[in-house]
């Protein structure tokens, strides 16, 4: 049996989503929604039904929902769509989809406090000199880093995620919005809500944000489909050109089955969320408390009360995440170090670095993320496997240097 505790990476598909998708991948649901005949109309109907579901869940108008190829694309559309209009700021703990887009646009990052929440004073400082003189000469791209002084040109976008993908820490988005409106009235606020939809009412959690990214596979829908909600008639440059689908904001033939799957999963989560949060939150608490008690030196990242219900993130001194995840995999527990690059290699997390977590702790990061399929047995499996793996790594870490020690004749090292 495999204990799947990597829901923050991707969730198992909800049966309702699978059924909705299968219906559209069969006759006669295969149509191109942009066509002018009965088959096309059936597909268009599915997309528009889905749009209403998303709009209702996000507290937006259907016309404000842009279907995309996933969370990363939504984030890119938001950042790239605003970058020609001025400076972009984001928190230092954003997902790479935002962080790298902001970096590419020459933007600035705003620091976080040790609890992993965006530093509001740093944000105020970064927006401080707003509005900058309109005649200011173009400045070279600022290197990402803590905001110093003021943004070089008027801010066009502030992007702060709703909940962090590694630590699960929920950001003080309402205060970010308040500060931005006051300091930089021309700037829009974007929030990457990809990790939040499962656990928080997305309409309330993202209230007031102009742009919201969501991704289906984080809440029981399929991979490769998401949405960008563009509220308040927000002005975005077009970055994906083509046939003009999605009101010209995102061209390309719709992923009709994916969109239907997204909406079906979202509908289930909207119904189920209260019970899910209670049930999974209890499981997560039992898991986190159990590991903190059984793994000497383990430290929980961020404050429990700030986190979404599904994430248990620990830093374990004296072990390396990569080795720990390997042993957990062998023990049938699917876990994550929290951050990986395209090749699959584990990286020291920029999130933990931004929080000021000491290197020695950050190297031993472990994320166990729970979701709608998680059972008591899964938690039991992790409660057994993690302390065993940590003990093993710690004991062999002490034994291994003997292999490396130079023999008397091997003096060169």
């Amino acid at each position: 049996m495999v204990a799947y505790l990597d829901h923050a990476a991707t969730t198992p598909i909800r049966p309702e989503a699978r059924r909705a998708m299968l219906a559209l991948m069969s006759e006669p649901g295969f149509g191109n929604p942009s066509g002018a005949h009965s088959v096309a109309r059936a597909a268009r109907r599915a997309v528009e039904d889905a749009r209403e579901v998303v709009a209702a869940a996000l507290g937006a108008e259907p016309s404000q929902v842009v279907f995309t190829g996933g969370g990363t694309e939504s984030d890119n559309l938001a950042v790239a769509g605003r970058s020609p209009r001025g400076h972009i700021l984001c928190s230092a703990v954003e997902h790479d989809a935002v962080l790298e887009s902001v970096r590419a646009a020459g933007g600035t990052t705003v620091g976080v406090n040790p609890e992993g929440q965006v530093d509001l004073d740093d944000l105020k400082r970064a927006l401080g000199a707003e509005p900058a003189p309109a005649a200011a000469p173009p400045t070279p791209a600022a290197p990402p880093g803590s905001a110093r002084g003021s943004a070089p040109t008027p801010a066009s976008l502030v992007s702060v995620m709703t909940a962090n993908n590694e630590t699960g820490v929920v950001q003080p988005l309402d205060r970010v919005i308040g500060i931005t409106r006051r300091k930089a009235p021309a700037a829009l606020v974007h929030t990457d809500a990809v990790q939040a939809v499962n656990w928080l009412d997305p309409a309330a959690a993202t209230a007031g944000a102009d742009l919201v990214s969501i991704s289906a596979h984080k809440f029981g829908g399929p991979q490769g489909v998401g949405a960008l909600v563009v509220r308040n008639a927000a002005d975005l440059d077009v970055t994906v050109h083509g046939g003009g689908q999605e009101a010209g904001r995102r061209s390309g033939t719709h992923n009709v089955a994916g969109i239907a799957g997204l909406a079906a999963a979202l509908a289930v989560v909207q119904e189920d969320r209260e019970a899910l949060v209670k049930r999974v939150g209890d499981l997560r608490d039992r898991l986190a408390d159990g590991l903190l008690a059984s793994v000497p030196g383990a430290v929980e990242t961020g404050r429990r009360e700030d986190k979404v219900a599904g994430i248990c993130h620990l830093c374990i001194p004296g072990v390396e995440s990569e080795a720990l995840v390997f042993l957990l995999d062998q023990a049938g527990v699917c876990a994550s170090a929290g951050s990986a690059c395209a090749s699959g290699a584990t990286q020291v997390s920029h999130v933990l670095r931004a929080m000021g977590v000491p290197e020695e702790l950050a190297r031993g990061a472990l994320r166990l993320s729970l979701g709608w399929t998680t059972t008591e047995e899964d938690v039991d499996a992790a409660l057994e496997a993690v302390p065993a793996a940590v003990a093993r790594l710690r004991s062999s870490a002490a034994a291994v240097p003997a292999v490396r020690a130079p023999s008397p004749a091997r003096s060169a090292r």
Binding site: E322, R392, P406, R410
Partner: protein
Amino acid sequence: MRVLAAMSGGVDSSVAAALLVDEGHQVVGATMKLWGGPSDSGCCSVSDVDDARRVCHQLGIDHHVFNFSEDFDRHVVGPYVEAHRSGLTPNPCIECNRHIKFDRFLDRALQLGFDAVATGHHARVVRLPGAAALVRGRDAAKDQSYVLSMLGQAQLARLLLPVGEMTKAEVRAEAARRGLRTAAKPDSQDVCFITASAGRPAFLGQRIELHPGRLVDSANGATVGTVDAIELVTVGQRRGIGSGPDGRRHYALSVDPRAGQVTVGPLEELMTDLVRVGAWTWTAHPVEPGTAVGAQVSAHGRALPARLDPDGHQVRLVEPTRRVAAGQTVALYDGDEVLGSAVAV
């Protein structure tokens, strides 16, 4: 045995893993991510990781990626740059083997409960009662025992080199027979973290300040020319060094970045029968001074007849050879068996 196979995404390590699976070992493949920068191939690009992963899929074994890029920076790239700054000619592949593949990776394997590691190097580990010997690979043209010459018993005891008994052609044929996607992949060339297009000058130029240097004739101390970057000059180099007054080609005889000076002279001054080295690592036992050995001074060279001088820090060659640049590795052989190695000073 439980074996962790180091898989670079190349044909040799692909076949190595396949052979171990055939032999009935419990094999897991692992690719080390070592370098985050641009690379022609080496062992680090996403496409190489993908190739290794795909081969593991075909072999029906698990594949993992280990990110050792920080260790690689610290133990290989940093010292490489530093060595060039101080006028040495480093061999980063050897340092990678020393510090990464047969230290960090081996440690990780043992930590995870593996009995041994395997690589696709063309060399052989011969197990004798109570000891393991490192021996040249069967394909003399592809032999890689030189770059493994720093290994000791602790590493050899846990090392499997399954393709050492095969020629490169046999390895490729085996990969093709099994339909492995790496069968026709070109051999990796040169230093994995330096691209052919940008080259060493650009790589070093981004990391250290390059200084012009004077070419000084060894015969009379006269300045006979200049080079743009003394950090890029290697002992034995001919290109850009010019000729003597008699029209004979000159070579770089020694490089002194602190004085900004490259001493140059004709070929006979480059020739020497003496190589001074630092501390030795021995595969099993120290070589007694005076013992007749073979000394190999470059990855693609052959072993030259030699003896170890009494002080243990000089290798005396029977026939003079071109001066060995400081930083290069000298490996000692008894026939095909590696005895040990040291770095020229």
